[in-house]
């Protein structure tokens, strides 16, 4: 009996292959987009883990010189003799261009355990192997394939090592880099008791471990962003699955009733249907894994570029196949299919054995269901507003965003019904009245596809508004902030003196500046010393400032801080900022500082020199007339021997910054387009599956005196009208989304708030895309309708149907 019943149930899919395809493709696309994003995130996190294996990630406190030069061996010896547990590291770069890599030479015997790479701590590589006279370089397989430098010691490929880095014994590093003195000293956290603080015993610069701003924390918001988009695409895909399953179950009501009537137990029927869904999920999941892998592989280089540009995080551009990821993708496909079919299965479970076999007025929502939906939408809007006002974390920001999107999706059929009803009262002609009333009746059947379109459009409007606002603000900000024509970075004090001497004769103005790492409000931050000049006074973009902010900074009476620091610490103008023990200054200005994850403060250059006498002034902002910056840079290099890359033209900086910016939003843009594509597919499948049911509504109107061609045009106009209506609803939703992204998510994730700008031309483009998606989805059904033989329509008036 079971096999006979299964054959009867599966017969439906043989009869409706398009529906089967829509179901499988819908689930496959949902799984692909979700799992693709997860693959990217997991690859990036694996890269962070590899990076965390290297001391370059500042996980351990260290002592370094103030000018970035190697420290004297004597300093190291003194500290060791005094009993401090410090370990030397020699670090430097080998090679040029893409084949360049960083050599990190450690002393395995004295290095803190957490500084050693995993292969040494877990015993895969013995200390002795690393310290052989021939030397040994540990590097990732990807780095090993890029290395072209000749005469290197033996290379051993280790997966856990971050890309672009080679770890070796300190002696090997010294030989390779031609450097005897340590680059810095690692300071173990478990120093012997009774010793005075190491900072009291050494004049070296003490750098605390940057626990609060390590790479994975910084990039969390980026990955959360990707995950949110992956989830959105998954939900949009599930709309297709839910709609198709719902329709297939409706169409098989007669079969269910017959099977029950001839003795198939309810539990077995439900089990067979659940089994059918599992089969579909396994098939679609398999396809989703393949498509997801391809999507991830295509997007990963862009993501790696974004993470490098934004955070300096080294992420591999190549995707490794991970069986755990594939299994989780299959699990999400099964979960999605279960979620999408739960309602339909429950309806079968509760269906009385003698339930009418006619499809219900296809999912014509009852008044009660409409009321519940309206109530739920209002609750979600309220929740979104509440979270916007009272929320204070990245998670509440995304929850606020999700509540707005789901609320808008739920409100769509309700608002649509009300609008169509209102228009119906205004309609003059019989056809217009019929078309509006008919569309209203069709709305529940189409609403899932329209909700998917609404979500995709709102996401596109929201993200494009955010990116556009960001781009416009960022470009304007760069123009103001990079007001000097040339930025020069000398390598040492001797060179700085030469450079300064040359520039004073050849430039309009030379503005020296310097920076030092510090901690402000308990977090790692940078402090800058700037000389006062009209250029800053006239151009520097302040979010808020007291009168004569720059003058008070120059005179050492005030400090300027960036927005990130102000928001994190809740600072406002006039507040006292503690710069170090016994040194506080009032805040006279807060400036925007896009792209910088850290806090920053600016003091006068004289104050800086007094507080940081060991930090040499090596950097200069140079003003020159017109477009002579390039010529001046060339002359400067020639006269002083400064490497050309140390004199950067303002135009190049802007281009680089904008390139990083565009790269950052490339992935988001790609996911947006994919989501819109999935929504378009949802509309197409809905239209195709509804076509056969539409004939029953259209045939009487045809019989009463309309041509098939007229009805086909009405069908097209109806779908375009619905797409337009969906766009009209998506517009405020998308703008709300943009506001949440700009004012809540950005502030929580990056620490800066951006003004919201609107881009009507972008809206027009999206409206065009929505109409195009509607046209494509309705064109084939409309064409089919216009060519339906009268005989097929006549069957609907006889008992043959």
């Amino acid at each position: 009996m079971t096999s006979a019943a299964l054959s009867a149930l599966l017969g439906h899919w043989r009869k409706h292959p398009g529906q089967a395809l829509a179901l499988i493709l819908g689930l496959a696309m949902a799984t692909a987009l979700w799992s693709g994003v997860q693959a990217i995130n997991s690859e990036a996190r694996a890269s962070y883990d590899r990076a965390a294996n290297v001391m370059g990630q500042n996980q351990i406190a260290r002592l370094a010189s103030h000018d970035g030069q190697p420290i004297a061996l004597a300093d190291f010896v003194t500290l060791r003799r005094a009993g401090y547990l410090v370990s030397p590291v020699i670090e430097g770069r080998i090679g040029n261009g893409p084949s360049a890599f960083r050599v990190v030479g450690i002393d395995p015997l004295t290095a803190p355990l957490e500084a050693l790479p995993t292969p040494i701590t877990d015993g895969r590589i013995a200390f002795g192997d690393l310290a052989t006279s021939d030397g040994l370089l540990l590097m990732s397989p990807e780095t090993a394939t890029r290395v072209t430098t000749e005469g290197l010691p033996q290379i051993r490929e280790i997966d856990e090592i971050a890309n672009g880095i080679a770890i070796t014994d300190i002696a090997t590093a010294a030989e390779l880099l031609g450097q005897e003195n340590p680059s810095y000293l690692l300071v173990r956290s478990d120093q012997p008791q009774g010793l005075p603080p190491i900072t009291d015993q050494s004049l070296l610069r003490y750098l605390e471990p940057e626990l609060t701003s390590d790479i994975s924390r910084l990039t969390d918001s980026f990955h959360l962003n990707l995950t949110a988009f992956g989830l959105l695409a998954f939900v949009v895909g599930l709309f297709i699955v839910h709609a198709t399953i719902g329709l297939a179950f409706e169409q098989r009501r007669a079969t269910f009733r017959t099977l029950r009537a001839i003795g198939l137990p309810l539990n077995r029927l439900v089990a067979l249907l659940a089994g059918e869904m599992i089969l579909v999920a396994l098939l679609a999941g398999g396809m989703g894994i393949i498509i997801g892998y391809l999507i991830a592989a295509a997007l990963l280089p862009s993501v790696a570029g974004s993470l490098r540009g934004l955070y300096g995080a080294q992420v591999s551009g190549e995707l490794a196949f991970d069986p755990v990821w594939a299994l989780s993708a299959m699990a999400i496909a099964l979960l999605g299919a279960g979620f999408a079919s739960a309602q339909a299965l429950n309806r079968v479970r509760l269906m009385p054995i003698l339930a009418p076999a006619q499809p219900r007025a296809w999912a014509m929502a009852s008044a009660r269901a409409q009321t519940i939906q309206t109530g739920l939408a209002l609750v979600l809007f309220g929740l979104s507003a509440g979270l916007a006002i009272f929320g204070s974390s990245l998670i509440t920001g995304f929850a606020c965003l999700a509540a707005l999107l789901i609320g808008a999706a739920l409100a769509l059929p309700v608002v649509g019904g009300a609008v169509l009803s209102g228009l119906g009262h205004l309609a003059r002609s019989a056809m217009a009245q019929w078309a509006l009333a008919d569309t209203r009746q069709q709305l529940p059947g189409l609403s899932l596809a329209l909700m998917a379109l609404l979500l995709a459009l709102a996401a596109n409007i929201g993200v494009s508004t955010m990116v556009g606002s960001f781009r416009a603000t960022f470009t304007g900000w760069l123009d103001q902030r990079l007001a000097a024509e040339l930025y020069v970075n000398a390598r040492n004090e001797t060179e700085a003196a030469l450079v300064l001497g040359f520039l004073e004769d050849h430039a309009d103005a030379v503005l020296p500046y310097a920076s030092a790492d510090t901690r402000l409000g308990g977090l790692p931050a940078e402090i800058y010393g700037y000389s006062n000049n009209d250029i800053y006074r006239d151009n520097w973009p302040f979010l808020d400032a007291l009168p004569n902010a720059w003058e008070s900074v120059e005179s050492g009476e005030a400090v300027l801080i960036n927005e990130q620091l102000a928001r994190r610490q809740g600072f406002s103008l006039g507040d006292e900022l503690r710069l170090s023990a016994g040194w506080s200054l009032p805040i006279s200005g807060i400036y925007s500082d896009y792209g910088n994850p850290s806090g920053q403060a600016i003091i006068g250059l004289d104050s800086f020199k007094a507080r940081y006498p060991d930090v040499p002034i090596l950097r200069f902002a140079v003003r020159v007339e017109g477009d002579s910056a390039t010529a001046l840079a060339a002359a400067l290099s020639e006269a002083t021997g400064l490497p050309p890359e140390n004199a950067i033209n303002q135009v190049e900086v802007k281009q680089l910054s904008l390139r990083i910016f565009e790269q950052t939003f490339l992935v988001t843009g790609a996911l947006n387009v994919l989501t819109l594509g999935v929504a378009g597919f949802a509309m197409l499948t809905s239209m195709l599956t509804l076509t056969s049911m539409r004939l029953m509504q259209l045939a009487p109107v045809w019989a009463l005196g309309q041509t098939r061609a007229t009805l086909a045009w009405f069908e097209l106009a109806r779908i375009i009208g619905l797409a337009f209506f969906t766009f009209v609803l998506a517009l405020p939703t998308g703008l709300g989304l943009a506001w949440i992204l700009l004012s809540i998510v950005n502030v929580e994730a990056f620490g800066w708030k951006l003004p919201m700008l609107v881009f009507p031309m972008e809206w027009l483009r999206l409206l065009g895309l929505a109409v195009l998606a509607a046209l494509i989805s309705a064109a084939w059904p409309a064409l089919r309708l216009s060519r339906t033989p009268p005989n097929s329509l006549l069957k609907l008036f006889t008992n043959e149907r």
Partner: protein, 219 residues
Amino acid sequence: MLLSAQDVNKSFSTSEGDVVVLNDASLSLDRGQTLALTGESGSGKSTFLHLIAGLDRPSSGKISLNGQDLSQAKDRDLARMRREEIGLIFQQFNLIPSLTLAQNLAFQARLAGKQDEAWLDHLADTLGLSDLLGRYPEQLSGGQQQRVAIGRALAAKPGLILADEPTGNLDEENAQRVMELLLALVADSGAALLLVTHSTDLAKRLSRRLHLSHGRLAA
């Protein structure tokens, strides 16, 4: 002559070859006349009615309505004729579920641009629908729905009413009432009625009768 069908043939192609449904069928009908077309199931009654309604085209032969040849007319002209000159009543009612009863009643008249409020009121009154005008088809009984369908067919005051088993889905009491109303209103409007039925009792109530058997007409 309002309606004339001469030597009408209709056959359908199937995988097993051509199936002849109508074989040289001819009839004529004038205003005010009522004609019953009887026959067994599958005898071709509905097919003949559909050809006369311009819903399908004959394989050969000629059908004229008010002197216009339906077999040669374009789709657009056929649609106009159905709107303005023909009233169709189906066994399955075929009301438009998204429109109220009042909208359904007036639908064809409005499509034809012949809306006459007094006539619509009269129809609603006569058919006993005046209190139900705000309801939707799904809220009506079968008998009530068929009365709406009759009203809709007559609303544009067409010259020809074509009814395909109009009582086939109704119980005896409702069938009697619907037929009485249909005949009374057809007489009232002066239209001609061509009724397809397999009930000889029902056919007897009409002025003329033709029997269709294996595609051939006989008196």
